[in-house]
Every structure is written in structure tokens, then in C-alpha cells.
Amino acid sequence: MTAPRSPQDLAQALDTTGYLAGEGLSVAAFLALELQRPLFCEGEPGTGKTSLATALSEALGLPLIRLQCHEGIDATQALYDWDFPRQLLHLRTLEAAGDLDPEAAERSLYTRRFLLARPLLQALTEAPCVLLIDEVDRADDEFEAFLLQVLDENTVTIPEYGEVRAATPPLAVLTSNRTRDVHDALKRRCLYHWLDHPDLPQEVAILRRRIPGINAALATQVASAVQALRRMELLKPPGVAESLDWARALSALGRDALDAQSAAATLGAVLKYREDLDRVARQGLDALLAR
């Protein structure tokens, strides 16, 4: 599509992909596009941070490049690496052919064809695109510092090769589950949005939007039961993904209403800890469904 002209415009485009963005989120995402700034999304797990990036790429017709962060992630996993075996092979071939000019050989080793582009470099060379940097809170401080340069200047310097600069900066979406505080310097460069669990009407709308053929009554029942679960101080309160799973599980079993029996059979789609299941069982499923 063409670039959205207003937050409402963007929200509509996201809507066609099945992602219901609230007003705040659509303003934040619109500004990220308009100001060419990364968007930093924080919130409880399962509130749609990651799927926002997918939806944005689909709505804007841009490729999605994803970088999953983890502890100990470093530049060679995120940025680029040299294809060492192929370089070695290339060198052997040159040797066998007998024309080994050491300087020329070395120069030929550090060219684009031996460069393995990891997500960040890929995003810079393929831009415009949507770059998802997922769960940045899992990476280490050092990695954040390294991200700063990439996000700030949309440039990467590879010592043996030179500088790679993005023609248009990628639309970067960073997500964090707040397992650790992300450094202020990184947040300062981003637009910030806190994603909350949706309220009841919103969640009903999401269920109906994402699961074709679900009836309104079941969607409302599932959504209100999930909302009740979220108020129960569980170890892992269910996110939107869980309520979608739950509704799908019920449809798969051919149930079109949520009663105590069908809830008991499918509760595993929503609750992922034994302690949580025990707790809900103790309070009684009926209490959960009454609301």
C-alpha cells in the first residue's frame, strides 16, 4: 500500500490483516514511520507485540526480517559473518589454478559473495522493510550498545569490507517482556508504547476477527473468562494468544458454548502451570464462567 497518511489510515490497514490496533498503538506506529524512529513495545507476554511487526509488514507490503534475541547474542549472529569454509575453498582453488598473487587473493576473499548477512545487515541492505528485534530484554547490555549504532545511523561498518548504509531506514519494532530493564540509551532513541491486555469488547473483537466462523456468544464467553483469569494473580496470566488458542480448541472440539465441562477439557490451552490449574480448580470453574 502507499504510506499511510494518518494514524486512522494505518489502523485501517492493520485491520485488513486481522490486527486490531488501539488508538495509542496506531499513533505510535504511525509516528515511527513518519519520524523514522524505532518503536519500542513493552508489555505483558501475549499482548501482541510480536504480531504487530508481522501485521505491519503485511499491511505496508514490506518484507519482515526477524532477529530473535537471546542471552549471549553477538554481532556475528545478528549482523554478519564471513563464510569461512567457502573462503578457504576459494583460496585452495586459486592455489590449484596456480595464479596466487597474495594481495589480490586476500582482496578477493573479503567481498560480498563471502559475506553472510545476518538479520541486521539483511535489513539494512533490503530496506525498506520491517525489522523485528524480538525480546531485546533477553540480550546483554553489550548487545544493546551495539544495537544503538545500527538503529541510530542505519549503518554498519565491516572492517574488511566497508560501510553498509540503508537507503531508507527499516521500520524497526523492538519488543521486550521486561524481564530485565533495557538500557535508557536504547529507549531514548525509540518511540515507546506499553501494550496492555485488551479490554473485554476489544478482546471479543479480536477473537471474532481472527477466528472465522466463531459465534458471538462463544467469543464473549471466552473473552470474559480470560479476563476473569487475568484478575486471579496467576503465575502466568493468559495473553491474547492464549484466548485465541482456547477459542480454537473449543471450535476444534465442536463446542459452541463454554460450560464447565468443555472448559475443564480445554483449560490446558489457557493455563500453562500446574499451580495455576490447581488454583482455578479450587475456586471452581463455575465461578469463572458466571461472570
Binding site: S6, P7, E23, G24, V27, L35, L39, W194
Partner: protein, 379 residues
């Protein structure tokens, strides 16, 4: 109120709003403020809700900022934030005390409001300063909390390895000689140098057992002020905070937030043994085992806040404090009861620890805590 003029000149209005937000405790840098202005250029200014969200996306940096942002938005633009907007802020209730200096009116009244707050503070401070924290009314306590948050002390420092040129101090022979050579052998004024200073680590161990209950909250606030107060100007302070009781809990991370209420709430969630029993010797042993010996206590100024009521083995406490003393630069024991007339360190734990402590101080009032800050700096 004046929200129409502000809409007429969005730039002035936006800059003013950024200032209000900063005063309310959300750290708004010039870069964020600049981005805010650009964001306002991109949204529809007539749509108050878009103005709200544009500000939130550019000025907030965490869920704890959002309730403050909402209140500031309301006070500045005179509009209630969009319904349901503040759901992310579970800490809203706790933030209200920190918000009181926010001017409710326009920019013109800002200074006035500040001055008023200061006058009130000046009047009450003298009385409050010397009162025992345990005997304060809730209102006085709230006032004390604000004063504690305002505590400032230079970070304690230790001499660094390197020397730096200085106006006075010992003569730097090398530099003086070089100058002399440069001057063609003529004698020049001698150049002085001194040891540079580096921040010294401070370790605060706070007893949160039942007998310390009336003081625990104020002491945690004090610890928060030490963590953040000194780091504002230049040198970063290196402060570690632990709670002692029946177990040891590291609170340094919980104290990461600049906002005292948020930090205290986080600390409250982290400590599993509030107002429980005391096994000082054992918990101190755990501290030494896990952190102290690995370097955290080495060369640090360690402050133990406790009344010394030991339910465990007090001989064990004695040996642990002795161990700590050998690792640390200084061990300061702060006992809230030490300020009372006729105090004798006869509690079993206190008596066992006393021979190995550099200083025993009172810590029952703001004045004694201020004194403690100086002691920590100069230890």
C-alpha cells in the same frame, strides 16, 4: 482555563508541558522533547487524543512513567486522558506523593507553587529533623519521605591509582622538570599533583525484622536516596542494598528506578521476610559467602542498619562481623535505639558485634541519617 491559548501556540504549550513532566519526575531529555515537537507536527493537533498518544509515545519510557504522564497531561491540557489509557500503570496509587510539587495551574503559577512548598518544608523540617521516626504521624511521615528523597551527599570516594595535576599538594617532579627544561633551564614555579579520587562502593545492609519495623520504610527510602541522590552530579556512585532478616535479599535491582515509590514497591515485592525474625549472624554469613568475599565488600564502606536483637547465635554474629571488618574499608553500625538516652549496647547481638565495628551511630531521625551520610562519605 488557558488551554485555548496553548492550542493557539502549540510550540510554547508543548515545551511547557515537557517541563511540567520533567518536574513531575519523568526524565525528559532535550532529544525526547525535540522528538515530541516533531511528533506533534505529524498528528492532528485538533484531536486531543492524538496529542495525548503522541506525547506518550515520545516522552514515556516505561510503564511507571504513564500514570505521571496522565496526571501531568490532565493538569496541563485540562483534559482527562482517554478512558482506560492508564491501565498499564499499576503503580499509580504509590506515585501520588511524589507528584505533589506538580503545579496544578499554568506556567505562571509554577514558581509560586514551588516556593510555597519550600516554605512549608523549611518550617517543619527543624522540628521533624530530630523526631524519632517511629513516633511520627502519617502526615509527618509523608513529609519526612519527601525530605528523605531530597537528601544529597557527595559520593564517598577513595584515592585512585593515578595522580592528577592540582593547584596544591605534593610537587610533581617529572612535570616540573620538564617545564624547567622547556624554559631553558630557568627555575619555574613547581607543578603540584594529587591522587585522583574514584567513587567508593557503599553496601547498605538493612535489617527488616519485626523489631525494626517502624524504621524499615524510612531506612529503605534513605537507601534509595543514597543510591540515586549522589549519582546526579558527575561521578557514579556504586551502591548495593540488601535486606537482612531471616534471609538475605538483594535489593539493588529493585532500587534501579529513580522514583522512590516505584523502587520501594519493587523492594517490598522482593523481600520475602518482612517483619519476621532475625538471624543476623547467618544472613550476614550468606552475604559474605555469596557476595562479600567475591569482591563486593572489599574496600567498600559497609553500613548495617539493625537494632542488634539477635535470635540466633550471637557468637556467630561476632565472627561474621569480624570477617566483614577485614574485607571492608569501614563497617558502620546504625542502631535506631542508640540515640535514646541511657542506651547501652547490651543486646546480645550488638554486644558481640561492637568490638568489630568502626563506628556505632544512631539512625532514628532525619538528623542522624544526615549525619550518617557525612560519616559514610568521610569514612
Amino acid at each position: 482555563m488557558g488551554c485555548d491559548e496553548r492550542a493557539a501556540d502549540p510550540l510554547t504549550g508543548a515545551v511547557g508541558f515537557a517541563r511540567v513532566l520533567r518536574a513531575a519526575g519523568v526524565p525528559v531529555g532535550t532529544d525526547a522533547a525535540g522528538r515530541y515537537l516533531r511528533a506533534l507536527g505529524a498528528v492532528d493537533l485538533a484531536e486531543r487524543r492524538q496529542v495525548y498518544w503522541a506525547g506518550r509515545a515520545t516522552l514515556c519510557r516505561g510503564p511507571e512513567d504513564i500514570p505521571v504522564y496522565d496526571l501531568a497531561f490532565q493538569s496541563w491540557f485540562g483534559d482527562a486522558p482517554p478512558p482506560g489509557a492508564a491501565r498499564g500503570g499499576r503503580v499509580r496509587e504509590a506515585r501520588i506523593a511524589g507528584l505533589s510539587p506538580v503545579p496544578r495551574g499554568g506556567a505562571g503559577r509554577e514558581d509560586e507553587a514551588d516556593g510555597e512548598a519550600l516554605r512549608v518544608a523549611a518550617g517543619d523540617t527543624e522540628i521533624l529533623r530530630h523526631r524519632d521516626i517511629a513516633e511520627l504521624t502519617p502526615a509527618e511521615r509523608a513529609h519526612l519521605d519527601r525530605m528523605l528523597a531530597g537528601l544529597r551527599a557527595g559520593p564517598p570516594t577513595r584515592p585512585a591509582l593515578r595522580r592528577r595535576p592540582a593547584r596544591t599538594g605534593p610537587v610533581d617532579p617529572r612535570r616540573t622538570l620538564r617545564r624547567t627544561v622547556a624554559a631553558g633551564g630557568e627555575p619555574v614555579r613547581p607543578v603540584h599533583h594529587r591522587r585522583a579520587r574514584r567513587p567508593r562502593r557503599v553496601v547498605l545492609l538493612i535489617d527488616v525484622s519485626g523489631s525494626m519495623r517502624p524504621y524499615a520504610d524510612a531506612l529503605l527510602r534513605f537507601a534509595h536516596a543514597v543510591t540515586h541522590g549522589a549519582s546526579g552530579g558527575g561521578a557514579r556512585t556504586d551502591v548495593e542494598v540488601f535486606s537482612l532478616g531471616t534471609r538475605l535479599t538483594r535489593l539493588t535491582r529493585a532500587f534501579g528506578s529513580r522514583d522512590a515509590e516505584t523502587a520501594l514497591a519493587a523492594a517490598g515485592r522482593a523481600v520475602p521476610d518482612w517483619a519476621g525474625g532475625t538471624r543476623l549472624g547467618e544472613t550476614l554469613g550468606v552475604f559474605l559467602e555469596r557476595h562479600g568475599r567475591r569482591g563486593m565488600a572489599r574496600g567498600a564502606t559497609v553500613v548495617i542498619f539493625s537494632d542488634g536483637w539477635e535470635r540466633g547465635d550471637s557468637a556467630l554474629l561476632g565472627t561474621q562481623v569480624a570477617l566483614l571488618r577485614r574485607l571492608a574499608h569501614a563497617v558502620i553500625w546504625v542502631n535506631p535505639h542508640a540515640g535514646a538516652a541511657g542506651f547501652q549496647p547490651v543486646q546480645s547481638g550488638m554486644a558481640a558485634a561492637l568490638p568489630h565495628v568502626d563506628r556505632l551511630l544512631a539512625g532514628h531521625s532525619l538528623a542522624t541519617l544526615q549525619r550518617l551520610l557525612l560519616e559514610v562519605r568521610d569514612a
